[in-house]
Symmetry: C2
Subunit: 305 residues, 2 copies
């Protein structure tokens, strides 16, 4: 396989090269992934827009509407992280197919990946894929997660702007997770504002934000059928700054470094029969042994340990 | 501070030494924690019983009943991991105070810690504390979590036996998380079996377990007011084996090793101005640099980097 040709294809914005590279990053292990990413690392300058929120608030519909509006201001790509739940699998798939058809008609590239594929490394893979989309010339990358737990919050660290979508009439569960969600949101969107309870939903979110000293965070009520207030949403997204070069930007790159180091040591430990060490020594002592004596033998690929 | 005197106190089962050691493990950093744990690491032989399930199913009441029954077969300690949610904080606290009063009357040591205290290291601290309780002579350690996410599943890896509690009449959310919960449970408890819907709740769980090839996993309906079927629950807990020395046992110790290595590198990276490296080089290249060249400078305490 010619990686150089592939990354040239990415940089030229060739959809087949992009799709092939994403599949390689997903399936081909560390060495190939590293070769792809290191070749394209410095290219591109996209604004990553995270979209998260509980199931049923209309994220797919919102993205189907938002992506073409952003496409008036630059090249748009969409990356959707699908939940692994077997209970919602079918309906999600239907949504995805409709969304992809809708977007590709308008020349917008969309890819969806399952969050079940990865054991703990989901944020890293998500970063790899956004990097490929960025290098391919995307000005905006819309990154969607289902917003149901810590892993989604981790993924949202990759975004420059995190949009949290809620809808009127959701239950107590939302109250319970709100504290976590309130912290990560840069823009709050109340979808389905034609529905009963929308005034109170907006008021409730506004008050929670004010209590969290997030007084200038926008709360925008939209109607995805009529398109009401989408112009306000787009304007807010356009005026917010990218993180590139600031603390948050380096924090997400640190996440990639840490996941690489974690994977290395996890494999390393599995190869040294650590169980026998743990009969005589506590895990802290064993960790120190590994970090000092063993670390000199380090070689990526885990083969010569 | 005299750590040797403290760990002698733990080994003698002195409650003040146990409480003081747990506070030190929680608050005093790596070196003191390591000294305490390494001194007591080989002592004790407890069976750790994890209790998890959604809020409102009656976990605290069940533990208040179960602990004295287990105390007829050996020394019992209870460790409760409290949820951080500000919405349920008040009611949890009330529960804890009643539970602690109830248990201490019967000579059962109980400690509760908040899951908000730790950023990612919760499982490690939980392991440290169970280790102290084990070394103090506990034959049974009951470990309770609120069962609301991945971190609870991680904590349950520390248990020898994981009991999942559910109650009749819970909603769709439970359906959605069931697949994750079904996998970790060694015993399923349906509390409040006097309630309507209990027959179907038991049948539903039984069928889900059968579909997951967990045909021999017990499903026990209990009534925490009358004490019905608690004898069956106790018998099942007594007859299940400990993990000490098997694969699962080493897996949890690997988790402690990995968290130690992770913490070390996370601190290390923050101290090398990694941002400047990331302007020219991708994070995979920087990770490899850190693992090779930099690793020789390793020293616990992160000071001489």
């Amino acid at each position: 396989m010619n990686i150089e040709k592939l990354t040239d294809g990415i940089l030229a914005g060739d959809y087949r090269s992009i799709a092939r590279s994403i599949s390689l990053v997903e399936n081909s292990g560390y060495e190939i992934k590293k070769e792809i990413i290191s070749r394209i690392y410095k290219n591109g300058n996209a604004k990553i827009i995270g979209i998260t929120g509980p199931p049923g608030v209309g994220k797919s519909t919102l993205i189907s509407n938002l992506a073409p509006l952003l496409a008036e201001h630059g090249k748009v790509s969409v990356l959707a992280i699908d939940p692994a739940s077997p209970f919602s699998g079918g309906s999600i798939l239907g949504n995805r197919i409709r969304m992809q058809a809708n977007l590709s008609e308008k020349g917008i590239y969309m890819r969806s990946i399952s969050n079940r594929l990865y054991n703990g490394g989901l944020s890293e893979y998500t970063w790899d894929i956004t990097k490929i989309l960025e290098a391919s010339g995307s000005d905006f990358i819309i990154l969607e997660t289902v917003g149901s737990g810590q892993s989604d919050i981790d993924i949202m660290n990759i975004a420059d702007i995190t949009c949290v979508i809620l809808a009127p009439g959701l239950g107590d569960e939302i109250q319970a997770i709100k504290s976590g969600i309130m912290e990560i949101g840069d823009i709050f969107i109340i979808n389905k504002i034609d529905r009963e309870g929308s005034y109170f939903a907006i008021k409730d979110i506004r008050e929670s934000l004010n209590m969290s000293n997030k007084i200038s965070t926008p709360v925008i009520g939209v109607n995805s059928i009529t398109g009401e207030n989408y112009d306000e949403l787009v304007n807010n997204i356009l005026k917010m700054e990218k993180k590139k070069g600031n603390d948050k930007y380096y924090k997400k790159l640190k996440m990639v470094i840490m996941e690489t180091i974690y994977d290395y040591y996890s494999n390393y430990i599995d190869n040294i029969n650590y169980g026998s060490r743990l009969i005589e020594r506590d895990p802290y002592t064993v960790a120190e042994e590994i970090l000092t004596r063993d670390s000199k033998k380090w070689k990526m690929g885990y083969n010569e340990l």
